[in-house]
Symmetry: C2
Subunit: 194 residues, 2 copies
């Protein structure tokens, strides 16, 4: 049941068996139905969540419009990190796009783990760095790439998700209107049919 957690963490952080047990004892399981929320705008994020199964989208709303900022599959850590770190109200919604199973790690428990060994600090740093790196790459892409290129990149990196995520959400992530993404698809299919 916790195979994913174990597998994922072990590959990046050299936890001892003892540390693994310790970590797992601090996790709290949570099931989220499709279209239900882990966090809404204005609430304060009290957990980071390991996504064991399912699909999550992270988005914010500006002037009535939703803007997707990322999608997460099983094996990733999910949170509104700024809200979580600073105990401030979240700007984002975190929503399940499918039946999903999460393991929550509370702020307090995370602090406790930090005091219990370097490996946990490393985990915390890795989560933060991954986040930083993701934002960084996205910045580059928004400046350098056309929407079409961003869509193609998204396809490559998330081939397994395209059937699961509605086009309008992908459009918003890529930074265009749904109509435009529809045309982009058409263009691409003409060039590389099938």
């Amino acid at each position: 049941m916790l195979d994913n957690v174990k597998e994922n963490l072990l590959t990046h952080v050299n936890f001892t068996d003892e540390e693994i047990v310790n970590l797992i004892s601090k996790l709290e399981s949570k099931l989220l139905k499709k279209n239900h929320f882990l966090l809404r705008e204005g609430e304060t994020g009290k957990h980071v969540a390991f996504l064991n199964k399912g699909l999550i989208r992270l988005y914010y709303v500006k002037e009535g419009k939703e803007h997707n900022s990322g999608f997460f599959r099983s094996g990733s850590w999910v949170s509104e990190y700024a809200s979580f770190l600073h105990k401030k109200p979240s700007l984002f919604y975190i929503e399940a796009l499918d039946e999903t199973e999460l393991f929550l790690l509370s702020y307090d428990n995370m602090q406790k783990l930090y005091h219990q060994g370097k490996a946990f600090e490393r985990l915390g740093r890795l989560i933060a760095e991954n986040l930083f790196h993701a934002y960084f790459k996205r910045n580059m892409s928004l400046i350098l790439d056309s929407p079409e290129e961003r869509y193609l990149t998204f396809l490559k990196e998330n081939a397994s998700l395209i059937e699961l995520i509605p086009l309008k959400h992908i459009a918003s992530y890529v930074g265009v209107e749904p109509e435009s993404l529809s045309r982009i698809r058409k263009r691409i299919n003409k060039l590389q049919p099938k």
Copy 2:
């Protein structure tokens, strides 16, 4: 001479006099002439720098084109943080746009300071968080705002810099070609002359 360092740090971190002395003893002064580099692509960043006087731009090159990722004035900390943290070759150039004076803090000295008190850890975290926040805001702006809006925001936040930074660099930061920024300026001046 170190007034800026002192003033800036004291406002964000509650250093004791002793800690200030300790920090300052680890700083190494460096003068940079206009259009000279603190770091070039491919080199590994070995310092974070406190910008005491002058003007710095941070940019990367892709397919022969420069892309400005930020400008820094006196009072800020400057680094290619990813390169510095992971000891990996920098993707960025760090260039002085004017005669500038820096105080360098080496990686090793930074680690030493970390061991000498919470306040220094706080400093390190603040630097990282500022960076994170900057990237975050930029992401939002690239998705939500038009180039014109981004230019206006840039003007507001950097009113003192507009005469010092060539238009083409601002254009690249805003994400348009110089010709387009020139026209954006024209549009704006028609609406709000002078």
